[in-house]
């Protein structure tokens, strides 16, 4: 595919003199509410809400922030559990709505999102029951010339239940900052540099260094060599993926999960990876969410935005809107390679 694109790119360059801008046609319809949420067992709900942009002449890719949505978590019968509140977050690119209810495993939830001037969005998500995963071993090794970290995992099946397993890795950025408490109020040095200079030598000022995990992540490419992985439906097994996907049919899953080791530790001489910690997820997710992630992998490799390549349609469960609401039960492995 890569080679096809090279040829395609060269063709485009050869014929670049014959490039013509055409207006987009009208008819994209009304904007739709976009809802992203992963309801994680044992955690409180977080829902990101935005609005789509109908394709029409004169559009760009600048999405508007949605702060006035009504987001309601319901049980499977539609009875309200909680209305989520908007949480201002300058680092977020979509409106973030959070709740206080702890999500239960093995339970169905409904999410109802109402954004003014758009259709109401309803989505049902099943949070899978707890599952057992064993990390048998980790080892630094090479995979097709790449330094990787291998996780030898054993995922136990749930009797009589088809389990959708997703493995992925992220690196979360960390900043180190100094905080100081002066007259009972805690300040950050980076935001109150002047005050810090004034009080730093005073005995009643308590100064402390902090590691702050930011809302900023780097996706770590991951790999599998397992022919049972559904990544087979997406590309080759020597390629990298956002996540490794398995459908487990009541049998134990013993597999090697690889993540690219280049980003495990940051190097000040190069800006490949930020300083931070590595989060390795092994999740059991709802079927709709799994289908979304499978098609998402395809779309990320091939957006299908030109006439040479057939487009891939994303699977979604957000009736009336766009996005996905998934349920998951997850196990996280935290790896600290950088000095924080």
């Amino acid at each position: 595919m890569r080679h096809l694109l090279i040829i395609g790119s060269l063709l485009c360059l050869w014929i670049a003199g014959c490039k013509q801008d055409l207006p987009l046609p009208k008819g994209g319809g009304a904007p739709r509410a976009v809802v992203y949420s992963e309801l994680v067992a044992g955690k409180t709900p977080e829902v990101r809400v935005g609005k789509s942009i109908p394709v029409a002449p004169g559009i760009d890719n600048n999405f508007r922030f949605v702060t006035n949505a009504k987001v309601e978590l319901q049980d499977k019968n539609g009875s309200p559990i909680e209305t989520l509140l908007y949480q201002p977050d300058s680092s977020s690119v979509m409106g973030l709505y959070v709740g206080k209810t702890v999500i239960d495993a093995n339970r169905n939830y409904k999410l109802q999102v109402t954004v003014p001037d758009t259709k109401q969005v309803n989505a049902m998500a099943t949070v899978p029951p707890p599952f057992k995963v064993e990390l048998l071993d980790t080892v630094r090794t090479l995979l097709n010339g790449r330094p990787v970290l291998k996780f030898h995992l054993n995922v136990y099946p749930l009797p009589g239940i088809r389990q959708y397993v997703v493995m992925e890795a992220l690196k979360q950025s960390v900043t180190t900052d100094t905080s100081f408490t002066y007259r009972g109020v805690r300040y950050r040095k980076s935001q109150n540099r002047e005050l810090f200079e004034q009080v730093k030598n005073r005995p009643d000022a308590r100064i402390k260094k902090d590691s702050i995990f930011e809302n900023d992540y780097l996706r770590i490419p991951c790999y599998t060599q397992d022919e049972n992985a559904d990544n087979n439906q997406i590309g080759g097994l020597n390629e990298n993926y956002n996540s490794i996907l398995f459908t487990q049919n009541g049998k134990p899953l013993t597999t090697d999960f690889y993540i690219n080791a280049t980003a495990l530790s940051s190097n000040p001489a190069e800006a490949i990876a930020p300083v931070g910690r590595v989060l390795v997820y092994v999740k059991s997710v709802s079927k709709d969410y799994y289908d979304f992630l499978l098609t998402y992998e395809k779309v990320k490799r091939n957006p299908g935005l030109n006439s040479l390549i057939q487009a891939i349609q994303l699977r979604s469960n957000t009736a009336g809107g766009l996005g996905v609401v998934g349920g998951s039960f997850q196990k996280i492995y935290y790896l600290y390679y950088d000095e924080l």
């Binding site: 014959c18 976009v34 780097l218 996706r219 390629e239 690219n260 001489a269 957006p303 299908g304 487009a311």
Partner: protein, 895 residues
């Protein structure tokens, strides 16, 4: 041509008169004869018991009659209209009397000798018309090149046949038949009086038209053989209309006809009735080809200078063909001149080609060699291509044929076509990080033996070898950290090898019944993906490239019947195909039937049903013809594809000059395959079977053709209204969607005006509705972007990772939008100099896309550029066009 037609009209009326009086005489003679036979039997007439010693045991009937009259003085009365006088006969040596000799020489003729009133009469045994078989080869006068598809028919009864792919014909004619017409699109018609000069093969030599008359389509030919679902095009047709860069292209010429089209502007990617390019069976001298495009399909691999004849079948497939769903393109190359050496050299600013043909041994063996090569790399390598890399292509066609005797002939043909492309890593325009080499080639070889078993039975046996080989090499330096990088040297190979043996036999049982049958065996060896690299696999599983060994067995039988005095022609047939692998077995019985009802002498309706099965699949995403397309077999998981095709056609002809054809068709496709993602063929770990999904399809439409085939002004108007739908599980919410090759309207107009025998002008205009394109209905925030997850690591296997979009497209329906229509007007002129001289010169010039239309080649919703995740930029459609107004000029030297 006019004079030929006039002659035919005169002949027709005179023959009708003769026929009436002739019947009367025969009837009287018969009555007399019957009376005399009775008398002779009773009286033992002495005239048949006269002693007679024949001078030789070998001779013609005429020889013995004349000698008998001379020696005995007895007058023998007969009609040459029903007696084949030049038939060679052999005596047993035991004949002693006039009656003995006459009995021997008339054996099997249906004629008896009777004595009456001092004369011997040679009379028919029965009152019915007697038939005898004539057969032979139709060849070009001078070169002795065999002529395919020549019409052979009785101008009175209109009964006839046509020469097969080896120039052979077999026709039973009544003894009342005075002569036979031989005609072909590119040759002057020939009237051969009957009875034939001897009992051997009646080989006919047709005189070619003048060079500039090759466009004329013989009305006579179409009366007898033309069918709405197929098309036979001689090579001369290729140069009739303007062509892109002046390159004569076989497949593009076919695209002038209804039901045909191409994926993109001026692509040789032939599409038939809404089918994919992979659904066409391309046969080069009987050898199947898998990849038929040069330079991304802009040109086909069939060198117009090497081709003799092209046949395209769209429906009513003869039972001998199988293996593809949509069409058969049967291409025959030139056999070579049997008499003298000839050649030509053609040069244009982009390519050069040379042809040489002639006798190895006069009248016994000949050869033809054609070579074509692109010149772009040689002429423009320092300017145009320097920034990008290098590219060239070449083709070699070689054919030799040896006449063993009048009944047997052997052919040996060879083809090699190659494309080579090199892309530099230090490309100044786009930084690729890699050097790439693409190198793909076709090789075919065929050894054929044709044999006339007897005048009614013709058989040919063919052994073929075909290989498609696609090599890709890559040298890359990939940084994996600030200090470290990987040097990747990779080589990928995708290849197909076929070896086959087949036999086909044609048996003319009578003029009303032609039987053909055959057997074939093909051994396939497919290695679709094989990739090797210098990189240590480490923990990675080393996967062997998959190789598939298969046996493809076929058999067929077909019977063509003429009923109700040729008013009704019925052609039932059955093709059987089987694909045998160690892990799977598929068999398919494919019935075929064609029924044609003659409404009037020049018009008929035809209906056909065909089932076709395709065991081999091409997995491809793009619409351009790239060698990265992947041919794979049916496996235990992937079923063969099937097509059920129905068509109904009406054809009418006026004055042998105009032809009108209307066709409606419906085609149902079952178990057709596609991929639901993109494939990387140069990766052993990319398991293609996991990405294949099966579905169904429906193609239907109507076609109209109006063609003026004779006169100074000739031309063609064709229009197709069509639909092509596909349906796959889990695609487009399981709903039908327009196929990527769906085009609602397709219109072609070609005109040619011949001023005089040395020069002509021509113009063509083509229009095709816009191709389907999936345009997002909306865009919405990317899932990762919405969660502040970025990713730019390890771009080696993810080409898009540096081009991160902050949005996802929402596609409500697949192929919901249409690109702009494609149309262009092309004009051209051709002048011939030095006609009738040893050296002739042909200059061809023209202009492609006269009104400078920007036709869509690629349309993109976003830009082909690398942007950061957070960049905000306007979105619109970008249309890239390939050709603007483009002049061409070529010069040909012929000798």
């Amino acid at each position: 041509m006019d004079s030929t037609l006039d002659t035919k009209v005169t002949l027709l009326s005179s023959v009708n008169k003769v026929k009436k009086s002739y019947r009367l005489i025969v009837l009287l003679l018969l009555l007399l004869g019957l009376a005399n036979i009775v008398t002779a039997q009773d009286n033992k007439d002495n005239l048949l018991y006269l002693p007679y010693a024949p001078p030789a045991i070998h001779g013609t009937i005429l020889f013995y009659i004349q000698d008998l009259q001379k020696q005995t003085g007895v007058s023998i009365s007969y009609s040459s209209s029903f007696l084949h006088l030049n038939k060679k006969v052999q005596l047993s040596g035991k004949e002693r009397t006039t009656g003995d000799v006459l009995s021997t020489i008339l054996q099997g003729t249906g004629i008896q000798a009777a004595a009456l009133n001092g004369k011997i009469f040679l009379l028919r045994e029965q009152s019915q018309t007697q038939y005898y078989t004539i057969s032979g080869f139709v060849k070009e006068n001078g070169s002795k090149e065999l002529i395919i598809g020549a019409s052979v028919y009785d101008p009175i009864t209109k009964k006839g046949t046509e020469t097969n792919a080896y120039g052979f014909y077999s026709l039973q004619v009544p003894d009342t038949c005075k002569g036979i017409v031989f005609s072909h699109i590119a040759y002057q018609s020939h009237y051969q009086p009957l009875p034939p000069p001897d009992d051997g093969q009646m080989n006919i030599y047709l005189q070619p038209h003048g060079m500039l008359q090759t466009v004329t389509v013989s009305g006579d030919k179409n009366k007898v053989t033309a069918q709405p679902g197929d098309l036979n095009m001689p090579v001369g047709y290729l140069s009739n209309f303007p062509a892109l860069l002046g390159e004569k292209d076989v497949l593009k010429s076919l695209q002038l006809y209804p039901g045909t089209g191409s994926s993109l502007e001026s692509s040789s990617n032939l599409l038939i009735r809404g089918g994919g390019a992979d659904q066409n069976l391309y046969l080069l001298d009987g050898v199947p080809l898998y990849h038929t495009g040069h330079l991304f399909g802009l040109f086909s691999i069939f060198n117009g200078d090497a081709v003799k004849d092209v046949s395209l079948y769209k429906d009513a497939f003869p039972a001998r063909y199988g293996g593809r769903l949509s069409s058969v393109v049967d291409i025959r190359t030139k056999d070579g001149n049997m008499k003298e050496w000839h050649g030509s050299l053609t040069v244009s600013p982009v390519s050069a080609s040379a042809v040489i043909e002639g006798p190895i041994k006069r009248d016994e063996s000949s050869m033809s060699l054609s070579i074509r090569r692109s010149l772009v790399d040689l002429l423009y390598s320092r300017t145009l291509l320097n920034d990008y890399g290098k590219y060239f292509l070449y083709d070699i066609n070689f054919k030799m044929n040896q006449v063993i005797n009048e009944r047997n002939r052997v052919y040996l043909s060879f083809y090699k076509g190659q494309d080579k492309m090199f892309i530099k890593s230090d490309n100044p325009t786009i930084n690729l990080f890699d050097d790439y080499n693409f190198d793909w080639s076709n090789i075919t070889t065929a050894l054929k033996w044709t044999s006339v078993i007897n005048p009614r039975v013709f058989t040919h046996t063919t052994a073929t070898y075909s290989r498609f080989y696609n090599v890709f090499t890559q040298n890359s330096l990939i940084p994996i950290s600030f200090y470290d990088s990987l040097f990747v040297k990779g080589k990928g190979v995708s290849r197909i090898r076929d070896v086959s043996l087949k036999n086909e036999t044609e048996y003319a049982i009578s003029n009303n019944q032609h039987l053909s049958f055959g057997l074939g065996y093909t051994y396939h060896n497919f290695a679709p993906t094989a990739y090797h690299t210098n990189i240590s696999a480490g923990e990675a599983t080393i996967r062997k490239a998959p190789i598939y060994y298969m046996a493809d067995v076929s058999a067929y039988a077909e019977d063509e019947l003429s009923l109700f005095n040729d008013k009704l022609i019925v052609r039932p047939g059955l093709h059987f195909g089987a694909l045998i692998q160690s892990s799977s077995f598929y068999a398919s019985a494919q019935p075929r039937i064609m029924v044609r009802w003659q409404l009037a002498p020049n018009q008929f309706v035809q209906a056909s049903f065909t089932k076709m099965t395709q065991f081999l699949h091409q997995l491809t995403t793009p619409v351009i013809n790239l060698p990265t397309d992947l041919w794979v077999p049916s496996t235990d998981n992937i079923k063969p594809e099937h097509a059920f095709s129905y068509s109904l056609a009406y054809q009418r002809q006026w004055n042998s000059q105009w032809r009108f054809n209307l066709n409606v068709y419906y085609k149902q496709l079952k178990d057709i395959v596609t991929t639901n993602t993109v494939l990387n063929i140069f990766d052993n770990s990319d398991l293609w079977e996991k990405k294949v999904i099966a579905g169904s399809g429906y193609n239907y439409g109507s076609e109209l053709l109006l063609e003026k085939t004779q006169g100074k002004l000739t031309g063609i108007l064709s229009y197709t209204l069509s639909w092509a739908w596909r349906q796959f599980d889990r695609l487009n919410a399981n709903k039908m969607f327009p196929y990527k090759e769906d085009r609602r309207h397709n219109l072609s107009l070609g005109l040619k005006y011949r001023f005089n025998p040395t020069w002509y002008v021509s113009a063509s205009w083509k229009f095709a509705s816009g191709a389907p394109f999936t345009l997002p209905l909306q865009i919405f925030p990317d899932f990762d972007w919405s969660r502040n997850i970025k990713g730019y690591l390890d771009e080696r296997y993810s080409p898009f990772s540096t081009n991160q979009l902050n949005y996802l497209p929402y596609f409500a329906r697949l192929n919901n939008y249409r690109l702009r229509p494609v149309h262009h007007l092309d004009i051209g002129a051709t002048a011939h100099f030095g006609k009738d001289r040893k050296f002739q010169h042909v200059v061809t010039a023209g202009v492609y896309n006269v009104y400078n239309r920007n036709n869509p080649f690629i349309v993109s919703f976003d830009q082909f550029s690398y942007l950061s995740f957070d960049a905000v930029y306007p979105l619109q459609l970008y249309q890239y066009s390939l050709f603007k107004t483009l002049p061409y000029l070529s010069y040909t030297l012929k000798f």
